[in-house]
Amino acid sequence: MKIIVNIDVMMAKRKISAGELAERIGITPANLSILKNGKAKAIRFSTLMALCRELRCQPGDLLAFQDDPEEES
């Protein structure tokens, strides 16, 4: 059971580099990398809002819920 982060998919669709996106949304490239690699434990609404604004998408386009029944047992 986990949240999948699809930022790289949207970045590819909008043809935007990680460095440029990090600069536009005001976070460090290292933090964007943590977010992209699914290592983040939480995301602030302000960051999500900035991502949606810059990538012209909805939060649901960036985040997806994946149910993994085996993980729970």
Binding site: I27, I34, A42
Partner: protein, 152 residues
Amino acid sequence: MIRMHVTKDMSIRLTLACVAVFAVFLLAADLFAFRWIGWYVAWRGMRPESVLKMTVTLYAASVFGWVCLWALWRLLKNIKAERVFDGENVRLLRAISWCCAFAALIFCVSGVYYPPFFFAGAAAAFMMLIVRVVKNVFQQAIEMKSELDLTI
């Protein structure tokens, strides 16, 4: 702000100095305990075999005293280097609490032949309790910090 920083740094230095002073006391105790115990036993009119028992008790406890002082020194050095919420500090606090527990055990067992040692044992056990609570707080704080660090 600068004043606060200086004060904090000086406070750590003062604590390090206190640890060094305790190390000097412990070294003195290790070097002269045998003689002091001899005098004390003679002064109190205790049985001569008490000298050996008390010496064993104090030297056994002193081993844990050294480990405690070494762990405190490392802990303070880490704090001085601004590595406060670090896994190593939790390990050091755990080592200190175990040292207190072993010292408490030694003193409580020794209290059988010299009852005042029970007080030292109780003090060491209480110290163990305090250090364990601090260790638990540190552990929780590290978890919270890692969560905060990974909130983007």
